[in-house]
């Protein structure tokens, strides 16, 4: 009987996921243009957040490099956008970030704790200033014009990247790699002694997460007409995914998705409603979320559920 129950629960879950996917895939057909644009930017943050959580969730290494990988994608799109078809640009953007992450990972993943966070943060600033120097002094002009792609295409590309990312995340969590990552997060030295190639595992996962950020950057660059190093390598893109993942809760696969979706919606809402105070309100929400939601929304829901069911058991 339990098997039937598990099976039906599983098919229910699969069915509802499929339903959501169909709804998302058909939404440009019937929803207003604004919704499509909003959904695209929600996907952007969801992808960055989830791919951040692939690496930083289980290992506990706080990476502040998302802006670097995202920015590399944006610049790839700006440089190659005219010469190559969009899918190729996206692939190259992802690969460029992948290679950068592999290099950075191999060099620096032996830095632990806060040093790693500081280093990755410095990386973003370093790339930005180098690019700025290159553009101002060598090329003689700052920024670039990006080829614009229509909103629906951007939406579908983001949806595809999102689906691939979710599948990858699911598979990594279920695989040996996922177990290795978790063991690194719990006790790195013990993991190394147990035969996990610690540096290799970390570098590869870091690079996989960077691939998705780069690909997203390559797609989203087409939404802005003009980019420069300040736009592409904005440190906000490094901190936001961390906040969103914590806000959603990293214990479950869907935690970062929910966190990013709600946070992005909130951001859009606040910008339109309170254009002058929105950053202030945003800061307050951030602090409150960190203070009162230690395990994120998912943790909160689980806690509430446990309390309710606990109360029910106590009654009977």
């Amino acid at each position: 009987m339990d098997i039937v129950r598990v099976f039906s629960k599983r098919s229910f879950l699969l069915g509802s996921l499929l339903l959501i996917l169909i709804l998302l895939a058909t939404s440009p057909l019937y929803s207003p243009r604004y919704t499509v644009v909003l959904l695209s930017s929600i996907f952007m943050y969801v992808v960055i957040t989830v791919s951040w959580a692939i690496f930083s969730g289980p290992t506990g290494y706080i990476s502040l490099a998302p802006a670097a990988f995202f920015g590399v994608g944006i610049y790839t799109s700006a440089i190659l956008g005219k010469a190559l078809p969009l899918p190729a640009v996206i692939g190259i953007g992802g690969l460029a970030s992948f290679c950068l992450a592999l290099l950075v990972g191999a060099l620096t993943l032996r830095l632990r704790g806060i040093y790693f966070a500081i280093f990755t943060f410095g990386l973003v600033e370093f790339i930005r200033h180098l690019l700025l120097f290159w553009e101002c002094t060598v090329m003689g002009r700052r920024g670039r014009i990006v080829i614009i792609v229509d909103n629906t295409t951007v939406y579908y590309l983001m949806l595809i990247i999102f689906v691939i990312l979710m599948l990858t995340t699911y598979l990594i969590r279920r695989s040996k790699l996922g177990l290795a990552l978790q063991s690194i997060g719990q006790e790195e030295d013990a993991a190394a002694h147990a035969g996990v190639n610690v540096t290799m595992v970390k570098a590869i996962t870091f690079a996989i997460s960077a691939f998705f950020m780069g690909a997203t950057g390559a797609v989203m660059a087409t939404k802005w007409t003009y980019i420069d190093p300040y736009i592409a390598f904005n440190p906000l893109y490094s901190f936001m995914p961390v906040l969103m993942a914590i806000f959603g809760g990293m214990g479950q696969l869907y935690g970062p998705v929910i966190g990013a979706a709600i946070f992005t919606y909130l951001e859009e809402f606040l910008i339109t409603r309170f254009p002058y105070h929105y950053m202030l309100i945003f800061g307050i929400i951030m602090v409150v979320a960190i203070l009162y939601l230690p395990d994120g929304l998912v943790g909160l829901v689980q806690e509430l559920r446990r309390r309710i069911s606990g109360a029910r058991y106590a009654d009977t």
Binding site: G60, I62, L107, T108, L111, G113, I114, Y115, A117, I118, F119, F121, G122, L123, E125, F126, H129, L130, L132, F133, C136, T137, P235, F239, V242, L243, I246, Y276, H277, M279, L280, F282, G283, I284, I285, M286, V287, I290, L291, P294
Partner: protein, 289 residues
Amino acid sequence: MIVTILNIVIAGLLMGGIYALIAVGFSLQYGVARVLNVSHGEFMMLGAFITWMLYTAFGVNPLVSLAICGPITLIIGFLLHRTLLTRLRSSSASLAAFEGKSMLASFGLLFIIQNIAILIWGNAVKGYTYLDSSVNIGGAIFAANRLVTLGFAMVIGFVFYLFLARTRLGKAIRAAAQDPGTAGLMGVNIDQVLAICFGLGALMAGFGGALMSMCFSIQPTMGFQFTVIAIIVVVLGGLGSIPGSFIGGFVLGLVGSIVSHWQPALSLAAYYMLFIVLLIVKPTGILGK
């Protein structure tokens, strides 16, 4: 030639003085209170704006307003730690978790402080002139206010060092830096001492900002770049080492001055280059253990 070298070295030291002050504050907040305070530069901005406001509205001498904006930032920092960070510290499972969370909370604080400042003072660039007569040092010419700034930075740094080394509270702070748990058992009121540390870090930033406003123009969004510089200096000098931060500030000032003599656009990139190489080669910094 000698004048050029003198020019570069003195300019580096002048900038380094302010860097050193901010970095000492940052180092105190990270080294003892374990908060990687991303909003550190905002306290500096507060110090600068309070000084500017007192000077333009009431004609208060900027050196006098050091005594006003210092305590203000101290109290803000102290209260923030007592209300926000103490709570975060007691609810975090481990030190690493607290370090991560407090860093993110301070990122939220950055937004809050910066935007309150924009609401009060507007987003425009502000400035005033004070002591801008020129002084000739062996052929190199500098504004008097920058020399005063350096002098005050040195004095503040030295007094602070004496405070840490000689007073009872300084001893408690050093004990808390080494081992908060044991220090608590020895009768140190840990929550209080950590909050004082955080406040003192904000005080240093406030001093740095007040001094800076004498020489440069100021803006509510200027804080973050100084936070970044503080991070670099502190890594350079060794995370948590106060003398290291002080020396690191001058080293970074010199590096910046040397690089910007040839290629001004590269000075920030040079800072990060130095920073990245240092993190890879010797992550514990110049004076780190």
